[in-house]
């Protein structure tokens, strides 16, 4: 059995947590103060995910902020960045609009977050 210490990133509190892990499975967790922490630690051990935020450049050169609608696998962040940076959406994109559906088969959409 191994122990893994981690800092929770789910809120500004940043709980220091210790997970007990055996054969890649999380057995128990200490130090979290809410269930979001448990969820984070579980994901971190089994399949780490992050919310990806970046920008796109429109055809006319406007810069718009975008994000992944749900967290994406950590290891796919650079691959998704490539796809987003290759986009040239029209200038009339609006807040909340989906630019890529199911990006890299992650189940997450890339949506516009700026006005």
């Amino acid at each position: 059995m191994e122990e893994r210490k981690m800092t929770c990133i789910m809120c500004p509190r940043g709980c220091l947590m210790t997970a007990k892990i055996e054969n890649g499975e999380m057995l128990s967790l200490e130090g979290n103060t809410c269930k979001r922490g448990y969820e984070y630690a579980y994901n971190e051990i089994h399949h780490p995910v992050r919310t990806l935020t970046t920008t796109v450049r429109t055809e006319g050169g406007r810069i718009a902020a975008v994000k992944s609608s749900v967290p994406v696998p950590k290891k796919l962040q650079f691959e998704i960045m490539k796809q987003i940076n290759a986009l040239r959406p029209s200038d009339d994109i609006v807040f909340g609009q989906t630019l890529i559906q199911n990006v890299c088969s992650t189940g997450s959409d890339i949506i516009v977050t700026s006005d």
Binding site: L52, T53, F78
Partner: protein, 327 residues
């Protein structure tokens, strides 16, 4: 020649998170005659360039990006029909709550207010304020300036990055520039503990294997036209350089994330007393300064860690200002 004069019950100086939240709460407390004056071309303040997520958990119970957080307030401002002037700078505020303003359409004009809410936010500590020795090449930016270049203007300020100071904006920019293809070599901080949130050390540095060197600072800047590198030096417990620990690191860009300073030039001119510890106005529990009818909230009052807390504080100032003008 007398200046054109605008009269308003409540003048809100700054259209960032504090000003927007104060305006919304003043409206909800019954005030109708008010004016937000914002010097940039859109409302939202620093939230516009904080495209990362992590805002709003306390305030709205969900995790939002900066522009999304601003969107909620801007939608309220539009729904309520609260007037605002953009591209307009207040250059002076007098104790009688008369402000001098300027923009390119109206020139110089006066705003006479019944109450004033100071919501000018803060600015970053610059290289000059840090007194770093060496030459004066290009390639040295405060982290927030770099953030504006990357997230709002779409320019990358450099390729090989060193970050001085482990403030949250510097940490956020370490991740942002890494995702955009830059090589962030390290982040150093003169203090023995990081000044940013633990979550940002984790997700912005550790996620990308960017080293964090504590008790270490930049002692010299090298380069003629463009930054060529920096000298790092370890410091002891009294923050004095440790002789012999100097190390040269080549880089074309240095980001500074070394603290924020409330922006109180206008407040001082109005006779507001500034607390030497917070750098912001001394206020009572209603956030009224020593000048009757002048209120302060957000980062101009003291530098907040979270925008959620700015909104909560600004609500109090907005309600108090509405009550003051008899709304």
């Amino acid at each position: 020649m007398s200046l054109k004069t605008i009269n308003t019950d409540i003048l809100i100086i700054g259209g960032g998170p504090a000003g927007l939240s104060a305006a919304v709460s003043a409206y909800e407390a019954g005030a109708r005659d008010m004016l937000i004056v914002e010097r940039e071309e859109t409302l939202g303040g620093i939230l516009k360039q904080c495209i990362h997520s992590g805002f709003g958990l306390h305030r709205f119970g969900e995790e939002l990006t900066g522009p999304e957080y601003a969107h909620i307030y801007i939608s309220k401002i539009e729904e309520y029909g609260i007037p605002f002037m953009l591209d307009t700078m207040i250059t002076e505020l007098k104790p009688d709550k008369t402000a001098t303003a300027v923009n390119s359409a109206d020139g110089i004009f006066e705003i006479k207010a019944g109450a004033v809410i100071l919501a000018m936010g803060c600015r970053e500590r610059s290289r000059g304020a840090l007194s770093i020795a060496g030459s004066r090449p290009s390639g040295i930016y405060t982290a927030g300036t770099a953030q504006k270049y990357v997230n709002l203007l779409g320019y990358m300020p450099g390729k090989e990055i060193v970050i001085l100071g482990s403030g949250d904006i510097g940490l956020i920019m370490a991740r942002r520039m890494t995702l955009e293809g830059a090589n962030v070599k390290l982040c150093c901080d003169i203090l023995p503990v990081p000044s940013g949130l633990p979550r940002n050390v984790e997700q912005c540095l550790n996620d990308f294997d960017i080293p964090l060197r504590l008790s270490c600072t930049v002692s010299k800047i090298h380069g003629k036209d463009r930054l060529a590198g920096v000298t790092l030096v370890d410091v002891d417990e009294s923050l004095s350089p440790v002789p012999g620990s100097e190390e040269y690191v080549s880089c074309d860009t240095l980001l500074l994330s070394c603290g924020l300073i409330p922006e109180n030039e206008l407040s001082r001119g109005a006779g507001v007393i500034i607390d030497s510890k917070t750098g912001g106005p001394v206020t009572d529990e209603n956030l009224q300064t020593v000048v009757e009818g002048i209120f302060a909230c957000g980062n101009v009052h003291h530098v907040h860690g979270l925008v959620d807390d700015v909104s909560i504080q600004a609500d109090i100032a907005g309600r108090a200002a509405a009550l003051y003008v008899g709304a």
